[in-house]
């Protein structure tokens, strides 16, 4: 199921992400974080984590090293 989310992120990367190039203030970048979160936590929790990261990636935040939560044995 999480592959659906990963596919959506890739679709974004090759379309809109390429058309509006930007460098993310976080490491890993938001799209990479989303992929890792989806792999680790599944579609729903992973999407929620990715959405929360996007909200945090605003001009007021300071960015920095912010890895996705590790994968728990599923």
């Amino acid at each position: 199921m999480f592959r659906l989310g990963v596919a959506a992120v890739w679709l974004y990367r090759v379309s809109f992400g390429a058309l509006f190039p930007t460098t993310c203030k976080y490491h890993p970048s938001c799209s990479q974080y989303a992929v890792e979160a989806l792999r680790a936590k599944g579609l729903f929790r992973g999407s929620a984590l990715a959405a929360w990261r996007l909200l945090r990636c605003n001009p007021w935040s300071h960015g920095g090293f912010d890895p996705a939560p590790p994968r728990v044995g599923r």
Partner: protein, 284 residues
């Protein structure tokens, strides 16, 4: 209700299209703008809502530019290891309390508008003209904003304007100090113009408007915000004179001497010169 669910199931982006269409309808029927100018007005409205986000981003970017030499040094040092390079840059941002300019949110906020407009314009060309009475042309050189951009010579003019405006907006909003990346971002529109050529002209009009807004906003913000000397560098040089003296390699600090407070440098500059001579002659 079931009709709405069926619509969403057929295309999950339908609600976005409906919102875009409602706003366009309001601008056309109530405000009295033509369809093309309604798109321009919609873009301006979106960009006005985003002003707090983008202005903050421009300020951060100006701040970031002041640290460009140090950041380039880090990039050079960790050229081979991109991961380490990123980590070191993040560390540098944290140490100097820099807010990196680039953030995904302002760009992503525009995504739903863009998609909504795309589907709304697609329906414009499919639905009977009676549903969207009025002129679809723009400034007499685009016959219809719902047609493919390349279906008329005016579309090519619009594409040229798009490429130019996109390059100019990248110049103002490029949030990276890496020259190669900046060039890459600058020439992206030349590559993507072939994709964009298949979009409805109205969508390109949206893009051109948003780019021009970015350029205008960049120009105004740069004029309004006075260029102050790098606060980080000032802080650093005032904090680190002892290490400069002992290391003898504080090239950047020495270059910034004129901006430092007057009484202290006079005392510290003279001994530095003496020490350099000593080092050249023989190390203690």
């Amino acid at each position: 209700m079931s009709h709405l669910i069926a619509l969403i199931a057929s295309n999950p982006l339908t609600p976005l299209e409906h919102v875009a269409r409602h706003i366009l309808n309001w601008l056309h029927f109530s405000v009295g703008l033509s369809w093309a100018w309604s798109i321009v007005a919609l873009t301006v409205m979106v960009r006005m809502l985003l002003v707090p986000l983008t202005v903050k981003q421009i300020h951060s970017m100006q701040n970031l530019q002041r640290y460009a030499p140090q950041m380039k040094e880090i990039q050079k040092k960790y050229k081979q290891d991109k991961k380490k390079q990123n980590e070191e840059l993040m560390k540098f941002y944290r140490e100097n309390q820099i807010n990196p300019a680039a953030s995904c949110l302002p760009m992503l906020v525009q995504l739903p508008v863009f998609l909504g407009l795309y589907y709304a314009l697609k329906h414009f060309s499919r639905e009977p003209a009676a549903l969207h009475p009025g002129n679809l042309s723009f400034l007499h050189f685009i016959p219809s904003i719902a047609d493919h951009t390349t279906s008329h010579w005016g579309g090519f003019v619009l594409l040229v304007v798009y490429v130019t405006s996109q390059m100019a907006s990248t110049l103002f909003m490029a949030t990276t100090v890496d020259k190669m990346q900046r060039y890459l971002f600058m020439f992206m529109p030349v590559v993507f113009v072939f994709v964009i050529a298949h979009f409805p002209a109205g969508l390109v009009l949206y893009w051109v408007t948003t780019n021009l807004w970015t350029v205008g906003q960049g120009l105004i913000t740069r004029r309004l915000v006075p260029k102050t000397p790098a606060p980080g560098l000032e802080k650093k040089s005032s904090r680190t004179p002892p290490s400069d003296d002992s290391g003898g390699g504080g090239g950047n600090g020495a270059q910034r001497d004129p901006s430092q407070p007057k009484p202290e440098p006079q005392a510290s500059v003279a001994p530095r010169k003496v020490r350099r001579k000593k080092q050249a002659g023989g190390r203690r």
